[in-house]
Amino acid sequence: MSNTEISQLMVDGLARVLAGFADAQTMDKIEKGETGLGHEKSISELGFDVAMLSEEDGGAGIGWKNCAKIFELLGYYASPTDLGEQIISQWASSNAGIEINGTVPHVALGTVESITDGLVSGTILVPWASGQSFVLVEISKQDTQEICLIDTASATSIAPADTIGRVPSQKVILANCAPLQIGTLDGSFGLTHAMAFLRSSQISGAMARILEMTIEYCNTRTQFGRPIGKFQAVQQLVAQLAGEMAATNAAVKLAAMGMDKGRGPLEIAIAKQRASASVALVASIAHEAHGAIGVTEEHILHYFTRRLWQWREEAGNEHFWAEEIGRQVVLGGGENLWPNLIGLTEG
């Protein structure tokens, strides 16, 4: 079986499980941190967290292109678990030679500084963490992609984080904390980039769901004696939503192709920039089309739009990455602009 066939089977299997936890009531319980819903168990039983590890290490050996399909599917179901983060965690640990004993570490958003040798400091956001846990964090450094494994028991403070994505998260402050392990990621990009790719893919998947819901609503909601989707004003809006979704989806493909070819930083920057930049229009059009019912707590739409608003900020928002991209592009000057653009796919 080819990698693509394997990943298609994985996607189909995951979709069957996720579909069982896709209603608003369940999502509400997940956001409130309720346990015993069974979703974590059902998902972890699939064993997809090791998807990127080689077959000798018990994984499926799939690359980023196929991984993106899993990430997008998670976004399509509003990511009821941290499977995406777990896949990144397993990949990063294995790649950087960090040993995992027991539970898979969480992955932090944000970086830490290492001013005193061997000790790290900084403030990080850890999605899906509660209580004491182990966390992988990127160490902010020029020219090398270091990560470390932290036991949050040694943190200065841990507090539940109040995010609009509302998945259980922690804000962790580390001050001269001694990591349990330190490793270097071998490759062209670090942990923040990997997380930016995950979030881009999730945004892409969530947008597909939002588009689907919006079309469905416009075809069923009747006003002035006909479905609102018959009105050109509404059609023009939904078409724009679809365009932004398509661009986000293509941006993820661009990044995945670069990553699988051993490039990555610029391609990932473009993907996260484009994905985050699409959120404003997609969320506003979806809500506009749904009208007042779409902003009620009981309607499912906000589980997706709140995720979008949260994810667009995480691992670098569109403005952060645009500056990063712009710096490189300007440095190259006019004559390198076109070769730089071509180099994204033919480099």
């Binding site: 998947g205 597909a208 989707g229 059609q235 679809a242 300007v330 006019g334």
Partner: protein, 384 residues
Amino acid sequence: MFQPYRFADIEVVEDAAALRLEVREFLDEWKYMWTPWERGLGWNRHDRKFSEALGAKGWIGMCWPKKYGGTERSMLERHVVIEELLAVGAPVGAHWVSDRQSGPLILKAGTETQRQKYLPEIIRGEACFCIGLSEPDAGSDLASVRTRADKVDGGWLINGRKIWTTNAHLSEYIIALLRTEGTAADRHKGLSQFVFSMNLPGITIRKIKDLTGLAHFNEVTFDDVFIDDDALIGTLGGGWAQVTAELAFERSGPDRYMTSFPLLEELVEHVNKTGSDRMIDRQIGAEFAKMAVLRQMSVSIAGMLQEGLLPNQEAAVVKDLGTDAEQRLPEVVRSILGQNSPLDKSTSLTEINAAITQTAPTFSLRGGTREIIRGIMAKGLGLR
């Protein structure tokens, strides 16, 4: 997962780099001759000598069969060539329409005689085609065409008027959508396509100046113009379906997002020389990202064309997003230059910006207006 579009992972042409290099070397011989204003006018600009030189290299009709003079290269290789041309603002107007849609239409729907007659001439860069679609009363509402072709002995007699016909005054040939049956009230029934010379008696071409002061489009009047039976292209009465397919060719290329590329290049060069800051980087980075993603989609469409798919919906997406990005770029330039952004010839950046600012309104009109395109998208998405 819901996925209404077929944008696939793109494939890179094996010898793309060598082909690019060859095109760039060829363009080095030409591009120093073009002013920033000219590069800003984009792909409407007509230069027969340039088209003939390009034809001699085998870069027009390059995907067509060898028996007509083509080189049977892939749609992806063609994409490499045409995006290199657009990137430097080359004057491709003398063959652009022929290469993009007239030739493919003739190849697909034409008779063997028509193919033998027109394709080799297009491939040599000697045949400029214009598109006879819009009429004074049929713009976005193309099905209300009323220019008639009435059956007479041995041929057809044409009467009526076409308008906004780009480069009609410089074209050897036209492919016109004409009413062969019924009236405008019959909509898309009874329409047929014909290919014929622009030099026939009874054809009057009146140039229409646009707001830049230049005249690239025209009004074409047909007054008892006689064409032979073999001018009919495709099926009698099947013109509407053929035009729909032709418009897919018209809308699916990189020309729908790259018109302003030479302006972005000038902007980046300017900022590189004068110094940047975070906010400038941010604006340029966002435009670069947009263009990179549009290119990803454009190459993907070329791949679909290569596989024989008809990427109508995907092309609509790229046209909508692409023309929006093209039109926005002059505003980005103004925002970065601040008060020092005269639209005159004081620098190459301001000169090219003057050209694009004034031509930008047409970007979302030609090939179907933004509103028509979004309507096509909505229909494709199943809004009913």
